[in-house]
Symmetry: C2
Subunit: 243 residues, 2 copies
C-alpha cells in the first residue's frame, strides 16, 4: 500500500501523478442517529477539507478513490459511487494549497503543479461507523467525524460537494442498499427507519416503512432478539446479501 498519491503526501514535482485532476471523497457514516461525514484539518492552517487525493499515472480512477477512503478509514471494499465532476473554472483557487505548503515550511513557485487548476471527481462512500478508524496523515492535525448538521467552514467548494453528495445519496436510497453499508451487521427495524429518516430529513410512517422494507426481500429476521432491556424486545435483522 503506497501513501504517495494523496494530496498530503505528494512529491514536490508531482512526478507519477496525473495533473489537473483530483478526487474528493465524501465519506458518510451513521452513529447515534446522526449522519456524519469525515473531514481532515491541515496542520497549522485551520483549513478543513474533504479527504482527497490524486491519481497515479498507471492507476485506475476508481481504484484511486478506494485508496483515498482506505487510507483515511482503514476499511477495504467499501461502497463507493462517483456522483459528480466539479469542473467550473470559478472553483479554481490556488491560495489554500499555497497556505498549506507554507505552513509546512515550503514556499512553492507560482507554477507548482498543486497551484494549477484542478477538476475534481466527487465520490461518496458509505462506511460502517463502528468499524472505521479515522486516520490522519502526517500533514493533518486531525481526521474526524462531523455531524452533517454541524459542518464547520470548509475550503473551496467542499461544502457544496457534500450537499451534492447528499442529494445523490437520497436519490439512490432505495436502489443501492444504503443500509447495507451504513449499519452494523445486525440491526432493528427501528435502526433502519432512523437511518432513512436521517438521510431524507423527514419522518416516515412506521407501518408503511416496515412493509416496504420487508417487501424488498433484502432482509432476514434472525432468531435472537435485541436484549437491551426494552419492555418489548424488538427483532433483529440483517441483510440477505452479506458484506
Amino acid at each position: 500500500m503506497t501513501n504517495h498519491n494523496n494530496k498530503e503526501e505528494s512529491t514536490e514535482d508531482g512526478a507519477g501523478f496525473l495533473k489537473g485532476i483530483a478526487i474528493d471523497a465524501v465519506i458518510f457514516g451513521f452513529h447515534d442517529d446522526q449522519l456524519k461525514v469525515l473531514l481532515v484539518e491541515y496542520k497549522h492552517t485551520n483549513i478543513i477539507a474533504l479527504p482527497g487525493g490524486f491519481i497515479g499515472e498507471f492507476e485506475d480512477l476508481n481504484i484511486a478513490a478506494g485508496r483515498v477512503v482506505r487510507e483515511r478509514t482503514g476499511l477495504e471494499n467499501i461502497f463507493l459511487d462517483q456522483f459528480y465532476v466539479f469542473g467550473d473554472y470559478s472553483r479554481y483557487d490556488p491560495l489554500p494549497f499555497k497556505t498549506i505548503m507554507e505552513a509546512n515550511g515550503t514556499t512553492p513557485p507560482d507554477d507548482h503543479w498543486l497551484l494549477g487548476r484542478f477538476i475534481s471527481v466527487g465520490y461518496y462512500a458509505l462506511v460502517d461507523f463502528t468499524k472505521a478508524k479515522p486516520a490522519p496523515a502526517a500533514i493533518f492535525d486531525s481526521c474526524d467525524w462531523y455531524d452533517l448538521g454541524n459542518i464547520p467552514k470548509l475550503v473551496q467548494d467542499h461544502r457544496q460537494i457534500i450537499d451534492r453528495a447528499l442529494e445523490a445519496l437520497r436519490a439512490n436510497l432505495d436502489n443501492q442498499l444504503v443500509g447495507l453499508n451504513l449499519l452494523p451487521e445486525d440491526f432493528t427495524m427501528n435502526d433502519l427507519q432512523t437511518l432513512y429518516e436521517t438521510i431524507l430529513g423527514k419522518k416516515l410512517i412506521r407501518s408503511a416503512f416496515q412493509r416496504k422494507m420487508l417487501s424488498l426481500g433484502i432482509l432476514e429476521r434472525i432468531a435472537k432478539k435485541f436484549t437491551g432491556g426494552a419492555h418489548k424486545a424488538p427483532y433483529l435483522y440483517r441483510f440477505v446479501s452479506t458484506k
Copy 2:
C-alpha cells in the same frame, strides 16, 4: 463561438486546453421509432467515434460539454447530463490519435499531448432529432446518426460509453422528462409510449402507461387532433413546461 477546443481542431501543442482530461458526448435522438446516436468518422482512417472535445483553460467543464454538442448539432440549450467518468488505465491507447494525425499529414512526437493518457467525462445529450443538423468538422469524413441497434465498431471504449449512457438514460427515464427533449413539441400518447418502449427495450401496457403519464401532471392535451388519416384521430399532447 470558437471551434478551437474540439478534438479535431486542437492546436499542435495543446496550448489553452486542460491536459489529460476530455469529454465524450453520447448524443441521443429519436426518429422512426428508433433511438439513434450521433457518431463521427475521422477522415481517411475508418475510425468511428463519439463526438468529443477538450476543456479550455478558463472554461467550465459543463460549458465545454454544451459546446461539443452545439458544434455537432447546431442546437443550443439542450439537455445534458454527466453520467460517468471513464478513468481506467486500461483505456489508454495512443494509437488512434496517432493514426488520425498521420492520416492528416502530421507525424506526432511520442510525447505529443494527444498521445498521453486521458480521463474522459461522459455526458449524454437528448436532442430533438427533427431540429438537429449534424455538422462534421474539417477533420471528419462524416457526422451522422446511427441506430442504436446498428452501431459499427467504435474506437477505444466508446461502445461501452454508449452502453453506460443508455443505462443512465433508463435509470433517469421518469425523473428527467426525457420525452421533453427527445420528442417534437406536439406528439401523441402513442409517440410517447413508443419512445419509452424503445429506451427500455420492452413493451408497456397501454392503459397503465397512459394513466401514469397523465398522473404526473406534465402533459397538456391540446385542442387540435392529429389529422394523419387514422380512422380514429388521436389527441395531441405537449409538455406543460415548454422548451
